[in-house]
């Protein structure tokens, strides 16, 4: 029996670390919007529309994601953005580990974090609401935290998955997903692969998406040590192999049974992986996405040739 656990989170009542009064968390999409503007962009998972923004918020998002004209209808997720008084949020201690709270229920997910609170509701389609303090420097961070969760659930609904991972693309355009617990070496491996001639999609979060007959890795313009810069056009790559990473004194590669790969992937899926109402669906998605993809455990040394080793195995 092998047990895999997702990352640990400190136990506390929902929102009490971030909100002055968690009992007043909005029960539905309501309040005063920040403004009248709207922005839409397309990423893995389709079109995302954010309404109720004021101009500086639109500019901040446009710079990072690039706005697109999204036509009516089609697959889209809408979020309303509201402004609340800054005093509704707690002042946080400096050096506090960066986390935010999630509260799961059958028809919704609630979020509370530094300077924001949000909810996702399935009514029956997914839609969101985000409350932030009056526009300021905290909006970008609050937005990105919310958006990561929204993206994870949107991908789930579309048969995909968001994985805490490094995504690397070889010279021929093939994609490799490297995953593992915190400290396994995802960023280190991504750097080594880049030095060996590969390109890095992202070293922290990568979506797995259904393609036509194959699974695709898609890059995201989100914060990370290595990856796309703001506004860059997100590339994608057909998934060639999965690798569970572990640091070692030497480089070695061994095949990984699909069940082990799925269990480790599930534990590497943030937000949805801990959702008791949807983790089962996520496992189904992962099985469908990676069932036919070669999986390995890659032990790699800091100054080793792990990328070359992985490529050689795939080309054999």
């Amino acid at each position: 029996m092998t047990a895999v656990r997702p990352r640990e989170q400190p136990p506390s009542a929902f929102g009490e670390a971030f909100l002055q009064d968690p009992e007043l968390f909005p029960g539905r999409r309501s309040g005063e919007t920040c403004g009248e503007r709207e922005i839409a962009f397309e990423l893995a998972g389709g079109a995302y529309v954010f309404s109720g923004l004021e101009p500086s918020q639109v500019d901040a998002l446009d710079g990072r994601f690039g706005s697109r004209v999204v036509g009516p209808g089609g697959s889209r997720v809408e979020t309303l953005v509201f402004c609340v008084e800054a005093r509704e949020f707690r002042e946080l201690e400096r050096g506090r580990p960066y986390t935010f709270d999630l509260d799961y229920s059958r028809a919704s997910v609630r979020l509370a974090g530094p300077g924001f609170m949000a909810r996702l509701d399935w009514t029956p389609d997914l839609r969101g609401a985000l409350w932030t303090a009056a526009p300021g420097t905290s909006f970008g961070g609050a937005f990105e935290n919310y958006f990561r969760v929204l993206l994870a659930y949107r991908l789930l609904d579309l048969g995909g998955a968001l994985v805490h991972s490094a995504g690397v693309r070889d010279e021929a355009g093939g994609g490799y997903l490297l995953f593992g617990p915190s400290g396994a070496g995802k960023s280190t491996f991504a750097r080594l692969a880049r030095e060996a001639g590969a390109s890095v999609l992202h070293d922290d979060l990568n979506p797995l998406c259904r393609g036509k007959g194959s699974t695709a890795l898609k890059a995201l313009p989100l914060s990370g040590d290595i990856g796309l810069g703001p506004g860059a056009a997100p590339p994608e790559a057909p998934l060639r192999a999965l690798c569970r990473l572990r640091k070692s004194e030497t480089d070695s590669l061994r095949p990984l049974h699909l069940s082990e790969a799925l269990a480790s992937l599930l534990a590497s899926c943030p937000f949805v992986g801990r959702d008791p109402y949807r983790a089962d669906q996520l496992l189904q998605n992962l099985h469908s996405l990676v069932g036919g993809v070669p999986a390995y455990e890659l032990s790699f040394a800091r100054a080793g040739r792990s990328w070359t080793l992985l490529r050689a195995a795939e080309q054999a």
């Binding site: 029996m1 092998t2 047990a3 895999v4 656990r5 997702p6 049974h257 699909l258 069940s259 082990e260 799925l262 269990a263 480790s264 599930l266 534990a267 992986g273 801990r274 008791p276 983790a279 089962d280 496992l283 189904q284 099985h287």
Partner: protein, 93 residues
């Protein structure tokens, strides 16, 4: 105390999926994922609602060439472990 007369079932918060004869279990309450090998996965499949452990022992004895006493001891020990780790619960005997 898990015995051949015990009746066990997966706890309500456990979901599982068999992939290539191994079971991937999700303990939703703990956000934990457990993988059982082929034998463990087969045991889980044999634990039909209301079936005592004796039924699992008898079925496995026909499927594996192993000393019966060793099989009973090892299976009971493993089932005990699954109960202690919150994957199975005893619902009767």
């Amino acid at each position: 105390m898990i015995a051949p007369s015990s009746v066990l079932q997966a706890r309500a918060d456990v979901r599982y999926r068999v992939v290539d004869r191994r079971a991937i279990l999700i303990r939703q309450s703990e956000a934990e994922v457990v993988v059982l090998n082929e034998v463990g996965s087969r045991m889980l499949e044999l634990l039909q609602p209301g079936t005592p452990v004796q039924g699992v022992l008898d079925a496995l004895a026909t499927e594996f060439e192993v000393d019966r006493a060793d099989l009973d001891r090892d299976v009971l020990s493993f089932l005990r472990e699954l109960v202690e780790t919150g994957i199975l619960e005893e619902v009767g005997s």
